[in-house]
Amino acid sequence: MFQYILKKEFLLLSRDIHALLVLFIMPTLFIVIMSLALQNTYSNKVDIKLQVAINTILNQDIQYITQEINKDNYFQAKNTNSENIKKLIYEKEFDFVVNIVQNYKNQINTNQKDFTIEIYINPNISLQNQEIFKNVLTKVISKQIMKEYFIKNKINAKTLSHLEKTITIIPIYKEKEFQIKPTSVQYSVPSWLVFSMFFILIPISNAFINEKNFGTISRLKSMNIPFISIILGKMVPYFIINQIQVLFMILVGIYIVPLLNGDTLQINGNYGLIFIMSSAISFAAISFAIFIANISSTSEEATTIGGVSNILLAALGGIMVPKFVMPEFMQNITTFSPMNWGLEGLLEIFVMGGGLNDIKAYILYLIIFGIGFLALSYIILKKKENI
């Protein structure tokens, strides 16, 4: 009997083009777009550098600053000669314009209090980038002063250039060692995978509501089909669909994203753990979908309630905006979203190479969430005398 229930659900889903788009095409697009968009955030590769004008009106002796800034990954500097700063920013499209006073080195050395370096910015530049540029400029000027001091005092200047090379960044993984650094695709695949797994809500709730409204549920009940079979008849096929999504999205990360010049997905953890984690996410997502189907009377209602709650859970759960860019209070709020539990669990496996101990708490939260919503659905159905 169960094979026919599975066959029916697969046939219905394969003929539901909208559900297939939501479950497979939408997350694929998100993974590709977000992996490429966030590529620079996770790597040293920078395609578009912020443009800096080192204005030579006031100071002819700034060649060193321009050269040193150009060594930085994020900025590209040019010498300019203009009094019209607005023109440099809005017509020449510089992001920063730096004005440095004459003999600035002497003024720094002599600790002159009224000495300032003015950095004019395009207001579109983020506060983070403003701070980075300010630090880069401070470093360049400090380096120049130190270099001159070393020469003057006959100290080997190589020490200075060695300094930067001495500092290296080494990621530490939980169980194994990897040479590569984390990549954007390692974040975007789990994020949009969790998001799309929760979107199973749309086909499940539509199927349930259609069965309810068409009288199919009544027919099944009159045929002595137990409630548990009706529920399992939905949970098992959609659980399998969720697992197909997991496999599909991993393949997108490994084969599709690199085709578009993105990084190749590397999974640092165990594939078995991905299955355990995705099973817990699937259970939570399907239970939530069954609950939404039970409180809605039409497909439109379920799609609206379900769609909006999914987007809210995603926004709160660090799916749409990475958690690390959120302020502390927002980061605390993310811990209330089941999507965040799923995401954190998958990141432990994908990025940190974590083991079962590292994900067991997330699995537990997701199972409790799922059981809770299944119990609520049971109570609602019982009240409506549908069981």
């Binding site: 009997m1 094979q3 026919y4 229930i5 066959k7 029916k8 046939l11 219905l12 003929r15 539901d16 259609n210 409204n213 068409f214 009288g215 199919t216 009544s218 027919r219 099944l220 009940k221 009159s222 045929m223 002595n224 089909i225 005398e385």
Partner: protein, 286 residues
């Protein structure tokens, strides 16, 4: 006896929807259940099919006790809801295969039952087309075909001809008659269409105000409710005759005493609709 109901009472919160209802339906009969909106027809059929519970009373179906022998009763019963209770994105064959499998049928028996149901309802041409593409009449036929899969001894049809053209309706009524004649399946048929019940059913009950207010074999019901129209030179007089002709004789005597000339006399039966409106007082129901 196919169905025996004694003192069935059902409340929705504090509102009584079935009031001490008793009913007996013979095996192999084609039973028509009539009643205005809100009378309790759907509630009664839902209870019979375990879709709703009841508060007090007793139900026996083919000798099985309703509360103790649910499995046995459901095995011999089939319910065809008023809605299209199948999957519109599946073909007729896929729907029949799915529901047949849920009834516990396995191949080759499953295939044989599907073939029989398809033949009875003439669905051959539509077997491999998705159900959402069918006309209303074909959808109704598929709905009934699914209900026949388990070869039921008792078939509940809840307004199975709503929203279809007269040709399809006639076809479906004939299919139902055929099932009843050939397989001796007891059929419980609810409808708002009096002429359907009158055409189809041999046993009729009217449910109003949560009670059975009339239950009779069709012939007796219409015979008992016959009347005679006497046409004089000035008026038409309608006389109910019911069990005897005393009223008629009295009226004729009265007319003779008044020297009123009689031009014609017509013998009529009230049709079911007149009877229904008469019994239910013709009031508009919510």
């Amino acid at each position: 006896m196919a169905i025996e109901i004694k003192n069935l009472t059902k409340f929705y919160q504090k509102h009584k929807v079935l009031d001490n209802l008793s009913l007996k339906i013979e095996e192999g009969s084609l039973f028509g259940l009539l009643g205005p909106n809100g009378a309790g027809k759907t509630t009664l059929v839902s209870i019979m099919n375990y879709l709703q519970s009841y508060d007090s009373g007793e139900i026996n179906i083919f000798g099985y006790e309703y509360k103790k022998q649910k499995k046995e009763i459901q095995k011999i019963s089939s319910y065809v809801p008023q809605t299209y209770a199948f999957y519109p994105n599946l073909t007729a064959y896929e729907n029949l295969e799915f529901f047949g499998a849920l009834y516990g049928l396995k191949n080759p028996q499953l295939k044989r039952r599907i073939e029989y149901c398809v033949e009875v309802t003439s669905l051959e041409k539509f077997l491999n087309k998705r159900a959402h593409t069918y006309s209303g009449g074909v959808k109704r036929r598929l709905n009934i075909a699914i209900g026949l899969l388990n070869d039921p001894k008792i078939l509940y049809l809840d307004e199975p001809t709503v929203g279809i053209d007269p040709q399809s309706r006639k076809y479906i009524l004939d299919v139902i008659k055929k099932i009843n004649n050939e397989k001796k399946t007891t059929i419980i048929y609810t409808s708002h269409y009096m002429e359907e019940i009158e055409y189809l059913c041999d046993d009729i009950a009217i449910l109003d105000n949560h009670k059975i207010i009339l239950h009779e074999k069709k012939e007796l019901l219409l015979e008992k409710n016959s009347f005679i129209t006497i046409q004089t030179n000035t008026e038409k007089i309608q006389v109910d005759v019911k069990d005897d002709y005393n009223n008629f004789i009295e009226t004729l005597t009265l007319l003779k005493n008044k020297n009123t000339p009689i031009e014609n006399i017509f013998f009529n039966n009230k049709n079911l609709e007149e009877l229904f409106l008469n019994l239910t007082k013709g009031n508009l129901r919510d």
